[in-house]
């Protein structure tokens, strides 16, 4: 659905994106991650034919975004960051205008407006002015507008920014349900959202692609060390010297004191000394209440791949 080859965008001496290449297949929901200023919006704007690239090539649904821009634009719906809308228009009026602009007319336009309003929960605000809508509703108007012409591809730039947790959940559900029929490329800072919705993640940093894989694979490939939590009753004994002796343990940090001692144990990558810890406790007759390994998250992967002072 999207094919990007060696795409570069330079702004007055600054390189926005630097020779990036990736592909998005039909039906995929791809999360586009990266720190602020990494080039996410730039890439999305080029894909949406808003501005041309300095060099390289990008196609949407088989059409070049520069030379066949009008055809490419017919196949995509784009929701820009911050959802720009005409404040003086009413919701119905806006959807009708945008639908007509995207070559819908007559019965089909009317039909689509009805369907899309139902889907995005806009039924009760149809006659309201956009200026008077809350942020959540505006976001939904933007989404409704982006997909009014049933595009094959949806490009959403931070679709959940500024929403409250309930609204984020609603939008996430909406995006998930859309994924059945549309291909979606979305950018976001909320990593749990990506884990919940996306089938693939592209991490971009300083204009370059750092990784492109499923969220699970990215987490599994982490090079950072893991973390164990241990809650133990050891009587009068101090468990720290014993614990540090175990191979694979890098650092032991006490978290709380008292009868029950709590530790955070940093371990080497790809090691799991939980068995040894258990056996140690058995030998020294300690009582263990908790021994767990903290699961690495996509956030860890993100931080590792995009950490700037490398």
């Amino acid at each position: 659905m999207i094919k990007v080859e060696q795409l570069t965008k330079k702004y007055a001496g600054v390189t926005g994106i630097d020779q990036i290449s990736f592909e998005v297949g039909k039906g995929e929901i791809v999360g586009f991650l990266g720190p602020n200023g990494a080039g996410k919006t730039t890439t999305m704007r080029i894909l949406a034919s808003y501005m041309p690239a300095s060099s390289g090539r990008a196609t949407v649904a088989g059409f070049d975004v520069f030379s066949e821009s009008l055809k490419a634009r017919r196949h995509l719906g784009y929701l820009p960051e911050n959802v720009p809308l005409y404040h003086d228009m009413r919701v119905n009026e806006y959807l009708r205008y945008r639908g007509a602009l995207k070559a819908l007319s007559g019965k089909r336009l009317k039909n689509r407006i009805g369907v899309i309003k139902e889907l995005c929960g806009l039924r009760e605000v149809g006659r309201k002015k956009i200026a008077g809508l809350s942020k959540g509703f505006r976001q939904r108007v933007g989404l409704a507008e982006a997909m009014i012409h049933e595009p094959d591809l949806l490009i959403l730039d931070e679709p959940t920014i500024g929403l409250d947790p309930n609204q984020i959940r609603q939008v996430r559900e909406l995006i998930k349900s859309l994924g059945e029929r549309h291909t979606i490329l979305l950018s976001t800072h909320i990593l749990s959202e990506v884990e919940a919705t996306c089938s693939r993640v592209i991490i971009i940093n300083r204009g370059r692609i750092e990784a492109s894989d499923t969220p699970e694979n990215l987490v599994n490939q982490l090079r950072t060390s893991g973390l164990l939590r241990l809650e133990v009753k050891s009587g009068s004994e101090d468990p720290i010297p014993h614990l540090t002796e175990i191979s694979g343990v890098r650092e032991v940090r006490p978290v709380s004191n008292g009868e029950w001692l709590c530790f955070e144990i940093r371990i080497e990558a790809n090691s799991d000394p939980r068995e040894q810890i258990f056996q140690l406790a058995v030998r020294r007759q300690w009582v263990i209440r908790e021994l767990s390994k903290e699961r690495a998250t996509l956030e860890d992967a993100f931080v590792e791949l995009t950490h700037t002072d490398r």
Binding site: L76, P84, Y86, D88, Y97, L101, K102, A103
Partner: protein, 251 residues
């Protein structure tokens, strides 16, 4: 073409459904009314060779209303889209750049022309109530309106150019005003520079809007301004089109 009309309908509704348009129309009609009242006062002072049309289209109030209206109606056109960011949704819809520029220009021109409609009624009512011959006949009536169209095409395009250059409506209005007044007062060079060459005199004569209106309201239809103004309007619109593209692309 359907896309173009969709865009045009949106631009027109943005004009006619906004309170600002009616505020502008209100002050414009006050100035027009004053202009009409002064021309009547002038004619009722005694026998005169002037027709009512001639008097109306050459008062100070007429020119003030005429000149100030351009920046006010055009300042919003592009600046607001850039400011709100709606330019991004607009230009990622399947529309061509020239369709956007042309629809905005045409909507402003239509609004401008509709502002002159009430003044036609002044003359209709006057000729119905009073003396027909005082108003003027034939080309004396439609001549000035034809010129208003031609000069309007030119000045609206200047306003469009100003609006495409900035995201701030006030700055767009100021730049538009400078462009409109700048071309209007260009003939004044001949008064400032005592020994201006005939070449300068001839060149500035092309944009001498005061002189053109003077002759058109006498019923003398000069084809030069009718060709000159639309041609330059097209030139300025092409510039607007390029500025519009450039601003979007360098973002």
């Amino acid at each position: 073409m359907r896309r173009f009309f969709t865009l045009l309908a949106r631009e027109l509704s943005a004009f006619y459904f906004s309170p600002i348009a009616y505020a502008v129309l209100f002050f414009f009609l006050i100035l027009n009314g004053l202009s009409f009242w002064f021309s009547l006062a002038l004619l009722s002072r005694g026998p005169s060779e002037l027709t009512l049309i001639q008097a109306f289209f050459n008062t100070l109030f007429f020119w003030i209303a005429y000149l100030l209206v351009f920046p006010v109606i055009t300042m919003r056109l592009f600046a607001e889209e850039f400011k709100l960011g709606t330019i991004e949704t607009l230009m990622t819809a399947p529309v061509r750049d020239w369709e956007v520029v042309a629809s905005k220009y045409l909507a402003a021109l239509i609004f401008y022309l509709s502002m002159w409609l009430p003044s036609i009624f002044y003359f209709l009512i006057f000729s119905w109530l009073g003396n027909r011959s005082v108003v003027g006949t034939g080309a004396q009536i439609w001549g000035p309106y034809l010129l208003l169209l031609a000069m309007g095409m030119f000045n609206v395009s200047l306003g469009c150019l100003a609006s495409s250059l900035t995201s701030n409506q006030i700055i767009a209005a100021m730049m538009g005003l400078v462009l409109v007044l700048g071309t209007f007062f260009l003939t004044m060079i001949n008064y400032i520079i005592n020994s201006s060459s005939p070449l300068v005199h001839d060149l500035t004569a092309y944009v001498a809007q005061l002189d053109h209106m003077e002759s058109f309201s006498r019923g003398i239809i000069d084809t030069r301004p009718l060709v000159f103004y639309p041609t330059f309007a097209l030139l300025v619109l092409v510039m607007t089109y390029h500025v519009f593209q450039y601003r979007r692309w360098k973002l």
